[in-house]
C-alpha cells in the first residue's frame, strides 16, 4: 500500500504494556464461580478418598487384630483346681507350632474385664467366674486350631477353645462391606465431580461465545482458539482443585493433630478404635494429587472440546442456514 493510513503517520509511537491482554479474559464471574464449584467438589472428593482409605485401613486392622489371637475358656466346677487347669492349658497351647505365646488372664485382669458388669470391690474367688488363656498366633504360620481344641478338651474337660473364627468371619464380611460402601460412595462422588466440572466448564465457556466467534471470523485456526481457552481453563481448574484438595488435606491434618493430642483420653481411645489413628498416609496424599490432576485435565479437555464443538456448530450453521444454535 503506497499511501495507506499505515504509512501516513509512521512516526507515531505507541506505548503498549509489555504484556498483552490475554485473548480469553483472565477472570470473570463465570470463571470465579467455576473455580469455586471445582474447589468444593475437589474438597469433597479428596475427603472421600481420605475417608475410604482410613476405613479400609481400620477394617484391615480390626480383622488382623482379632485374628491374631485365640482364647481358651475354662469354666469353674466343684472340686476343680482352676489355676492348675489354666497352667496346663497354657502349656498345651504353647507346645503347638504357630503359637507365639499363651498368657493366663490373672484374677486382677479378669476383674478389670468384668468391672463394667460387676462393678469394683468384688472378690472373684467367691464367684464361679470362667478364666481365660489368651493365645497369640503367628499370622503367617497359624496353628492347627482343631488339634489344639481337641488336645485341650481331652486334657481339661471344662475347657473350650475359641479361635474367634465366627468373629473374624463377621468382621471380614463387615470390613469388606464397609470398604465396598466407601468405594461406591467414592465412585458416586467422582462421577458427580466429573459431571459438575464438565457442565460448569461448559457453562463458563458459554459466556465466551462471542470471543470464539470473533476469533474464528478474523481467521484464527481452531487449534489456536482451543489453545487459548484450554490454557485459561487449565489454570482455573488447577486453582480450584488445589484449593479444594489442599483444604481436605488440611482438615485431615487438623483431625490427626487433635487425635494425637487426645490419644490418651477415653474419647480419643474410642475414636481410635472405631476410625484408626487418623494418620495421613501416603495413599491420602497420592489420592488428593490424583483428584487434582483429574480435575485439571478434565477442565482443560472440556474447554478444548467445547471450543472445537462451538466452532463446528458455527460452521454447521454455515452449511445449513436454517440451523440456529445461539
Amino acid at each position: 500500500m503506497a499511501d495507506t493510513p499505515m504509512q501516513m503517520n509512521a512516526e507515531t509511537q505507541v506505548t503498549q504494556s509489555a504484556k498483552p491482554t490475554p485473548i480469553v479474559p483472565p477472570s470473570n464471574i463465570a470463571g470465579q464461580a467455576l473455580s469455586l464449584v471445582i474447589a468444593i467438589m475437589s474438597f469433597l472428593a479428596c475427603l472421600t478418598v481420605g475417608a475410604v482409605l482410613m476405613i479400609d485401613r481400620s477394617a484391615s486392622a480390626w480383622q488382623s487384630q482379632i485374628s491374631r489371637e485365640a482364647t481358651i475358656q475354662i469354666r469353674p466346677a466343684r472340686d476343680f483346681d482352676i489355676e492348675t487347669a489354666l497352667m496346663e492349658a497354657q502349656a498345651i497351647a504353647a507346645g503347638f507350632e504357630g503359637v507365639v505365646n499363651a498368657r493366663i488372664i490373672d484374677l486382677p485382669q479378669t476383674a478389670n474385664l468384668l468391672e463394667p458388669w460387676l462393678g469394683t470391690g468384688i472378690d472373684l474367688a467367691e464367684l464361679p467366674v470362667p478364666r481365660l488363656v489368651v493365645i497369640r498366633i503367628d499370622e503367617r504360620n497359624p496353628p492347627d486350631f482343631k488339634a489344639i481344641g481337641a488336645a485341650i478338651s481331652e486334657a481339661i474337660p471344662n475347657a473350650t477353645m475359641d479361635d474367634h473364627r465366627a468373629w473374624v468371619d463377621r468382621l471380614v464380611s463387615m470390613a469388606r462391606t464397609t470398604t465396598f460402601v466407601g468405594v461406591a460412595i467414592l465412585a458416586l462422588v467422582l462421577t458427580a465431580l466429573v459431571l459438575t466440572v464438565v457442565f460448569a466448564t461448559r457453562g463458563a465457556l458459554a459466556s465466551n461465545h462471542v470471543i470464539i466467534e470473533v476469533l474464528h471470523f478474523v481467521g484464527a485456526r481452531a487449534n489456536f482458539i482451543a489453545g487459548q481457552f484450554q490454557r485459561r481453563f487449565f489454570w482455573i481448574g488447577l486453582r480450584g482443585a488445589v484449593i479444594g484438595g489442599g483444604g481436605a488435606i488440611l482438615l485431615f491434618l487438623i483431625f490427626q493433630f487433635w487425635a494425637q493430642r487426645n490419644l490418651t483420653t477415653a474419647q480419643g481411645e474410642q475414636v481410635a478404635v472405631l476410625f484408626g489413628d487418623f494418620s495421613i498416609g501416603m495413599g491420602t496424599f497420592i489420592g488428593a494429587l490424583l483428584v487434582i490432576a483429574l480435575v485439571a485435565t478434565l477442565t482443560t479437555l472440556t474447554a478444548r472440546l467445547t471450543v472445537i464443538r462451538t466452532i463446528y456448530e458455527i460452521d454447521e450453521q454455515r452449511a445449513d442456514p436454517s440451523r440456529q444454535f445461539y
Binding site: 500500500m1 493510513p5 507515531t12 505507541v14 491482554t21 485473548i23 474464528h216 454455515r318 436454517s322
Partner: protein, 219 residues
C-alpha cells in the same frame, strides 16, 4: 475474484431471501450494496464472508468453488477478507489497540512488528487518543471505527462493510469513505452495504441494489 452464479438462499422452509443472484466482484473494484431493510444485504455479505453457504447456485472465491472448500481451509481464506460487522463484535476486555491488532495476533505476528501500523491506523480513523480505551467506554461511532480499523489492519484483498457509517456523523462518514477509497486505490476490492444515499452520491461507483430477493446492478 468473487463470482456468484444463480445463487439462492433460504432459511429453513421460509421463502428465498436471495433468488437467482449473479454478479462478479473483480479485483480492485469498489461497489455499494444497498436496498430496503430486510432485503438480504446482511445475508449476501455473510455469503461473501463464507459464514453461510447458498442453498443453490455456485459461488467462487479467489478461484475456488466454496462447495469444495474444507472446514480447515476456511480460516486461511477468511484472512484474505476484512469484515466490518454491523454490531461491531469487539472484545470488551481488550483495549482499542488490542482489538485492532487481533487479526495480526492470531496470525502469530509479533507486536513489535505491527505496533506502529496499528497506532497509525487508529490515528487515521480519529482514535489516536483512545488506544488504551476499552470498548464499553467508547461511543457507537468510535466502536464502528475500531471495527473498521480491525477489518483493515491486515490489508485484505476484499473488504466487506455492513453499514459502516451507520453510527457516525456525516463528517466522519466522509472520512471513512475516503479511507475505503484509499484502500481501494491501493488494491483492495471494497463492498459497502449501506442505506446512506448521501454517502453513495459522493462516489461514482457500481451499485448493487437488492429488492424483493433480486439483485440489480448499476454502473
Amino acid at each position: 475474484m468473487i463470482k456468484f452464479e444463480n445463487v439462492g438462499l433460504r432459511y429453513g422452509m421460509e421463502t428465498e431471501v436471495l433468488r437467482d443472484v449473479s454478479f462478479e466482484i473483480p479485483e480492485r473494484s469498489f461497489q455499494f450494496l444497498t436496498g430496503p431493510s430486510g432485503a438480504g444485504k446482511t445475508s449476501l455479505l455473510r455469503l461473501l464472508f463464507m459464514s453461510l453457504r447458498p442453498t443453490r447456485g455456485s459461488i467462487s472465491m479467489f478461484g475456488r468453488d466454496i462447495a469444495s472448500i474444507e472446514r480447515h481451509e476456511l480460516p486461511i481464506l477468511r484472512r484474505r477478507i476484512g469484515v466490518v460487522f454491523q454490531d461491531f463484535r469487539l472484545l470488551d476486555h481488550m483495549t482499542t489497540f488490542e482489538n485492532v491488532a487481533l487479526p495480526l495476533r492470531v496470525r502469530g505476528k509479533d507486536e513489535a512488528d505491527f505496533r506502529s501500523d496499528v497506532s497509525d491506523l487508529l490515528n487515521w480513523v480519529g482514535l489516536g487518543d483512545k488506544l488504551h480505551a476499552l470498548p464499553p467506554v467508547l461511543s457507537g461511532g468510535e466502536k464502528q471505527r475500531v471495527a473498521i480499523a480491525r477489518a483493515l489492519i491486515d490489508q485484505p484483498e476484499v473488504l466487506l462493510a455492513d453499514e459502516p457509517t451507520g453510527n457516525v456523523d456525516p463528517h466522519m462518514a466522509r472520512r471513512l469513505l475516503r479511507l475505503f477509497l484509499e484502500l481501494n486505490r491501493s488494491g483492495t476490492a471494497v463492498v459497502v452495504a449501506t442505506h446512506d444515499l448521501g454517502l453513495m452520491e459522493q462516489v461514482d461507483a457500481r451499485r448493487m441494489i437488492l429488492n424483493n430477493s433480486h439483485l440489480d446492478i448499476y454502473g
